[in-house]
């Protein structure tokens, strides 16, 4: 990138858009800090129990994942066709199948 001087200004503008701004990184960082603090406060103060706590904990982690994807990894700014997104979705389907499937099978397979 940016090897041709005549394209310098244009390229700088492009990469600025492509890789976010200081503002978007700071917003992402603040979001991550908050999303880390929420489950911590919940667990350390024993505020929730059972299913509710699990939902809050996993929900914060997934939101944190989304924040990192959009604010830090620039998933949204990908050009078309969106191969990165497609590969990501395929990967998530595989991961969910492996994790969900393992837990489901093994939960019904306890040698008590």
């Amino acid at each position: 990138m940016a090897q041709h001087p005549e394209h310098g200004a244009h390229e700088a503008h492009d990469s600025h858009e492509a890789h976010g701004s200081l503002k978007s990184y700071v917003i992402g960082f603040v979001f991550s800090l908050v999303l880390t603090a929420i489950p911590l406060i919940v667990v350390l103060n024993d505020m929730l129990e059972g299913t509710a706590a699990t939902v809050v904990l996993l929900g914060s982690a997934i939101l944190q994942f989304v924040v990192q994807l959009f604010f830090f990894m620039h998933l949204k700014e990908e050009g078309k066709p969106r191969y990165n997104l497609m590969v990501l979705i395929l990967g998530l389907i595989i991961v969910l199948t492996i994790v969900g499937g393992s837990i489901w099978i093994m939960a019904n397979n306890q040698v008590a």
Binding site: M1, A2, Q3, H4, E11, A12, D14, S15, H16, E17, A18, H19, G20, S21, L22, Y25, G28, F29, S32, L33, T36, P39, L40, V43, L44, A53, T54, L57, L58, S60, A61, Q64, F65, Q68, L69, F72, M73, H74, E77, E78, G79, P81, Y83, N84, V87, L88, L90, G91, L92, I94, V95, I98, V99, G101, S102, I103, M106
Partner: protein, 209 residues
């Protein structure tokens, strides 16, 4: 170039710019290849998480995670890694401004934070083994050390990698190749942060809960 920093396939261009375009396409393709690697790494961690969750009660009547986990250290590790993810982003921003000093500086900060993360993690492992929870103690601890250790190994490799990119930046400056390398290492670093968030939540918080 296309509107994104990482066009995957752009229309073939003709004329004088062709050589440059092809070179650029190649760098874009390498970014794409790394992205695919990250997704396969996701699958690796997915299987390790599945194993951990399935074995989370299999402590063979011995010590559990809730007995031994020292949360202050883990919380420190979490915020350190989170901050290092942010500073690796700041490194990319410096690069986009063409600021090589800022770029190397922020990469150095990221390396320092990553090194403190690894130090804390090794300290934690040593303490756990001293308290009687080694990798062979029970299925739970085997799954624990495999999952957390694999993440730690990724971070350690990332540190060596980042230092070597800093050396290349010192020697060659910011060009299309080093630019792609910095983009890739920062992507890798954000990815490791994401994995750690799940380790923190599923391994530590849910065990202690």
């Amino acid at each position: 170039m296309a509107s994104s920093g990482k066009p995957i396939i752009s229309a073939p261009s003709h004329g004088v710019e062709q050589g440059h375009e092809e070179h650029h396409d190649l760098e874009g393709l390498r970014m794409m290849g790394f992205w695919i690697f990250l997704i396969t790494d996701c699958i690796l961690f997915g299987t390790l998480f599945a194993t951990f969750v399935v074995l989370s009660d299999s402590t063979a009547g011995g010590l559990t995670g809730a007995d031994l986990f020292e949360m202050p250290g883990v919380i420190a590790e979490t915020f350190i890694l989170l901050t290092s993810s942010f500073t690796s982003g700041l490194a990319v921003l410096s690069m986009n401004r063409g600021d090589r000093k800022g770029l190397i500086g922020w990469l150095a900060v990221t390396v320092l934070l990553g090194a403190s993360f690894i130090t804390l993690e090794i300290t934690e492992f040593v303490n756990l083994v001293h308290e009687g929870a080694a990798i062979s103690t029970s299925a739970f601890w085997s799954a624990f050390y495999t999952l957390v250790g694999t993440h730690g190994l990724h971070v350690s490799i990332g540190l060596v990698w980042m230092i070597s990119i800093m050396l290349q930046l010192k020697r060659h400056g910011i060009n299309s190749v080093t630019r792609r390398k910095v983009n890739i290492i920062s992507l890798y670093w954000h990815f490791l942060d994401v994995v750690w968030i799940f380790v923190f939540t599923i391994v530590y918080l849910m065990e202690v809960m």
